[in-house]
Assembly symmetry: C2
């Protein structure tokens, strides 16, 4: 089992996902600022895993300020929570997890209790995401009776969740049940999470994926090589609009055009019932270098304008079902 | 003006497009096999330019066998034509140009006449493609009265044609007429002709493009940032089905979904009236390394399956108009 993150009692150990698949390089730190940098620079990524990492980041801050008086401790840890919350804007699991940590901090009566409860809560958040993955896999796989060829986008496996994965968890479960013919993996430009991470992870668990570029999905559908698309999510609005990795919306439109079911798999921690629809989801824009420099190699002229949204929003009407840990939701969606 | 190819009397000089934008590196050769390798390895690419390069390749073969007797000369040059024809399968301009060269060879009465006529014919083919570009640009620009934001894919400029370009020629003409707001350029994965070549070429001619990944086109259309899509073509069937760089079909489906006009710009040398529809167009599949190694950097695990069609086929009903050197054709298409 791939362990992308691990709490080591007084430090956090995590896999630097930017170095995969070339190197399995782990970072161990007792500094919550290193966790913030890891989230911002995508060393740690995937909506559920960001929430988990941030929770343990709060624990590191709590240990750092352990020797302060309770008032100063609380203030410092609250600041750390605010800093962690500013690391990335789109995935709601980050805010969900930090909200839970904040409530624990606020209800503690002294430093020792706070530290112990915060660590316990972070462990609980990791455990919730792990169990969610198992339930998502079970619910998702039950949608299929015959064997299928699946297309997925970005990375939604252990690397993204700490558990068996969301969309990739469903695919793994289908594989166990002998219901997978082919798994096609979008390279997921510009950061190649599909090419770098998903293929690596699938091969580790004994599935031989077929890598394509994002731009090939259309022709595969046209040639009837894809039976369904399963992707993860970074935030789901109460009407069922889904923010996910850039390129997801294009897959949803292509699926619609070819009458192929388009599924979203996500834990309930990804649902943001406070917002009405996708227009309210903040979409992170990334810097120019993510498009002009690939794996350290410049691939475009200097001084070039880019537009680089990291996510897009798929309207609910294009989503055949949202597979969660609780149940499989179908349109019309209403998450309150 | 960018000169991607130049006949130097007894040798051919061409720009190695795989090294762009890092380096403007020219190769000069008197060996037609170097031209075959340049086409196969995409040092020279773009449907019209492949035809031009192959024509001059025939001239190099003719010069090589100049001292043979006429029968042996003819046989050697015909073999060279067959070898050049086998370099890439999809773009029909290659076969159109080589068919013209073959007719010249067959009508020559002696070696000296053959050599001189072949060089003259290759010059004519280059001239035809250059003039086609001018007419395409004129016809294409006339479609627009207001200024527009355009999305294009792959490279269809001087680098692809030897002239001002097809789709990029139209964009250049619109720019001259003050009718361009923004030019969005798809990176065009996996070989990044958009990121590497089109942005470089546009900046050279004074247009500041905005680079996006192929997977971002959908969200740009959703946000009403794109008024039309203009792409080139590698082969157009008599019913108007269009083979073009992989990812084109996805753009056509996205355009259809968002009610955005999707235009194809190509010289008549790209029309293959001998075939009924897109099903008959041979689609080249490229090797695993084009997906797993980007600019010399391995980005995916070793021993990985890939599927890598270099082109896809857009059905005629998704094409708003086909802009050629003769006129602008609209549906229903019938090229006989």
């Amino acid at each position: 089992m791939i362990k992308p993150i691990e709490w080591c009692g007084s430090s956090l150990r995590f896999l630097d996902q930017t170095k995969l698949p070339r190197e399995e390089y782990y970072i161990e730190t007792d500094d919550y600022c290193v966790v913030i940098d890891a989230i911002t620079s995508l060393k740690v990524r995937g909506a559920p895993l960001i929430g988990i990492a941030a929770s343990y980041g709060v624990c590191l801050a709590a240990l750092k300020y352990f020797h302060c008086g309770f008032e100063s401790f609380s203030s410092h840890v609250q600041n750390a929570i605010d800093e962690l919350a500013a690391s990335r804007p789109t995935a709601v699991n980050l805010f969900w997890a930090l909200e839970r940590m904040k409530r624990i901090l606020q209800s503690a009566r002294h430093v020792e209790e706070a530290v112990s409860s915060l660590v316990h809560e972070a462990d609980t958040i990791l455990q919730i995401e792990k169990e969610s993955c198992l339930m998502i896999a079970k619910h998702g796989a039950a949608l299929f009776s015959d064997s299928v060829s699946v297309l997925t986008h970005c990375n939604t496996g252990a690397l993204a969740t700490g558990g068996h994965g969301t969309a990739l968890g469903v695919i793994l479960q289908l594989h166990k049940q002998g219901k997978i013919r082919n798994v096609y993996v979008d390279e997921t430009s510009p950061l190649l999470q599909g090419a770098r991470l998903t293929t690596w992870e699938l091969k580790k668990i004994g599935i031989e994926p077929i890598l394509i570029t994002d731009s090939m999905a259309g022709t595969l559908m046209q040639q009837k090589m894809i039976d369904c698309v399963i992707v993860g999510a970074d935030r789901i609005a109460s009407n069922g609009d889904v923010a996910n990795k850039i390129g997801t919306y294009t897959l949803a439109v292509l699926s619609h055009h070819h009458t192929i079911p388009f599924y979203v798999a996500a834990p309930t921690s990804t649902i943001d019932s406070k917002i009405k629809n996708g227009n309210e989801i903040p979409i992170e824009e990334r810097g120019e270098e993510e498009l002009t420099v690939i794996q350290g190699q410049r691939v475009a002229p200097l001084d070039l304008q880019t537009y680089s949204p990291a996510f897009d929003v798929t309207p609910a009407h294009l989503v055949a079902a949202i597979i969660t840990d609780i149940e499989v939701f179908k349109s019309p969606y209403s998450f309150d």
